[in-house]
């Protein structure tokens, strides 16, 4: 296999990996604030991408507007789900809430099927489709665009968590809710904010990936790879989510070159299990400390 071909495979792996990373980040955002796994994350992505697409069909809106509509829809949906459903289960166990989110994901998928059918629809890309040639290496603009946009979003999130009032409040709540309350932080608002932020990250990922996987009610399944990525990186760690996502994307694309193609989808899990056996807290996860 030539170096040029290898570079091509790695770059498209990084593109897929960027999406996994964004999904992993959105799961970690909600988990850190609320200790809940949100199984509806993929369906929030799917529904908001569909809403953006509908705006395009109805209003002939340009893609930038589609992105804005999708993000707004995600923010609304994330807020509503937390406020109207999850908030009422505030005294339930984490396991109960997890099952509720699983139920929400099924409901959202069925609802999307009713509104938009279960067919697959082509989705235009924000980026052109003329391959970019750098020497012998040919790269798809879609891949580069996805990587670039995802990295930009990750940097923005980093800045949010590092240098803003809300970001700090979210990190404080993740570590010690009691102390956070006594600092004047409304933990409930942080819950809302986390759901909205996670949904928005998902919507961006949805608009980025839809041209590649097609728009359909099943596209939310990408969240499963987001889970794997988050676990791989150490659940709870943002840098871990990014590293886990990228690693997963590249491995998934490299594996068929060396192994029977039917094994493609098992490779990430084999890697995940191996890494967890060696480092139970994931690649960048903190070693679990018992609270005393």
């Amino acid at each position: 296999m030539t170096t040029a071909a290898l570079v091509h495979v790695v770059v498209s792996g990084l593109a897929t990996g960027s999406i996994y990373a964004l999904m992993a980040i959105s799961l970690v955002i909600i988990y850190n604030a609320t200790r809940t796994l949100n199984f509806a994350q993929g369906e929030i992505l799917m529904v908001s991408t569909f809403v953006g697409w509908t705006a395009m069909q109805v209003l002939r809106a340009p893609l930038v507007v589609v992105l804005i509509v999708a993000v707004a829809a995600a923010a609304g949906l994330g807020w509503a789900l937390e406020r109207l459903v999850i908030r009422h289960a505030i005294s339930a166990t984490h396991f109960d809430v997890l099952i509720i989110t699983l139920g929400l994901s099924l409901m959202l998928r069925s609802a999307a099927g009713l509104v938009w059918t279960h067919d697959e629809f082509p989705f235009p890309s924000l980026f052109g489709n003329r391959p970019l040639a750098i020497g012998p290496v040919r790269l798809a603009p879609v891949s580069l665009g996805i990587i670039g946009a995802s990295l930009a979003l990750m940097l923005a999130l980093y800045a949010l968590f590092r240098w803003t009032r809300m970001g700090r409040a979210m990190r404080a709540v993740a570590q010690n809710q009691r102390a956070a309350r006594l600092m004047g932080i409304s933990v409930e608002r942080v819950y809302s904010g986390s759901w909205v932020l996670a949904a928005v990250v998902g919507a961006v990922a949805g608009v980025l990936i839809a041209p590649v996987v097609f728009l359909s009610s099943k596209m939310g399944l990408v969240a499963i790879n987001g889970f794997t990525a988050a676990v791989l990186g150490g659940f709870g760690s943002m840098p871990g989510a990014v590293v886990g996502g990228m690693l997963l994307g590249v491995l998934e694309n490299l594996a068929p070159l060396y192994l029977p193609s039917s094994i493609k989808h098992s490779v990430p899990f084999l890697v995940m299990i191996t890494i967890l056996l060696v480092r139970p807290s994931g690649l960048l996860g903190r070693v679990a400390r018992r609270k005393v």
Binding site: A156, L160, R168, Q175
Partner: protein, 254 residues
């Protein structure tokens, strides 16, 4: 300023507090003492909204604190530190102080996302203030260190800096001298007095270190088994037979 009336709370049938009343006036240093398990920290947890009492009233500057959530109480000017420090362990020292400043910062997510000049200025000012507070408590050189990796004495001062960042009117200190050496305790006493004298704070403290309690308190209340058994000026308390009995009787004097 802070008024606690007829406060009762029990856990699993055990009365943690029964019929406790306290009146803390503005710019006063008021100490709560008593054997372990006497209910001192429980008073703090009720005042800051973490526990709901079964009976009683708590008002602060006219507000009924029992009707407010913990974060609303904090925003009305009640700050506290914990007996076992509760810093945000994975945040740097300066970020801990900035979280303490939370209620004073205005910028929301949307405005922050656009990096408006006013937001950046607010953030820069908050950082400047946080650095000054850290310096005041001798923590300037650990500003960027993760709080969880600091020694206990540092964490206690950091908790104090974090509480002060909120500019409270009433500050509750739960065993501020616990784990400190005599020199550190002396520094702490001076700091507490300066907070009252220069910043006009009112302080309610729980403390076992009698030198600190007798040295700086205006008034002292003694709790035993959830009841107030004495209250008065430090020297009156030291001579009170009921107090001596409570301390000797429990075998865990201070």
């Amino acid at each position: 300023m802070l008024s606690v009336e007829d406060l009762s709370i029990s856990f699993g049938g055990l009365d943690a507090l029964s019929g406790l009343s306290l009146e803390v006036t503005e710019r006063e240093i008021f100490a709560l003492i008593g054997p372990n398990g006497a209910g001192k920290s429980t008073v703090f947890n009720v005042v800051t909204g973490l526990y709901r009492p079964s009976r009683g009233r708590v008002t602060f500057r006219g507000d009924d604190l029992l009707a407010l959530a913990p974060h609303e109480i904090a925003r009305r000017g009640v700050g506290r530190t914990f007996q076992n420090t509760e810093v945000f362990r994975q945040l740097t020292a300066i970020d801990n102080v900035l979280v303490g400043r939370h209620a004073h910062l205005r910028s929301g997510v949307l405005r922050g996302a656009f990096g408006l000049a006013s937001v950046r200025r607010e953030e820069a000012e908050a950082r400047e203030l946080a650095r000054r507070l850290l310096a005041r408590l001798g923590l300037a050189e650990v500003a960027d260190t993760e709080a969880g990796s600091l020694p206990l004495g540092y964490q206690k001062r950091l908790e104090l800096a974090r509480a002060l960042a909120a500019e409270p009117r009433l500050l509750l200190l739960d065993e501020p001298a616990g784990g400190l050496n005599p020199t550190e305790t002396q520094t702490l006493m001076k700091l507490i007095q300066r907070l009252r004298d220069e910043s006009g704070l009112t302080l309610l403290l729980v403390e076992h270190d009698m030198e600190l309690v007798m040295g700086i308190s205006d008034r002292v209340a003694v709790l035993d088994y959830g009841r107030k058994i004495a209250e008065g000026k430090p020297r009156e308390i030291a001579a009170d037979p009921a107090v001596v009995e409570a301390y000797l009787g429990s075998g865990d004097g201070a």
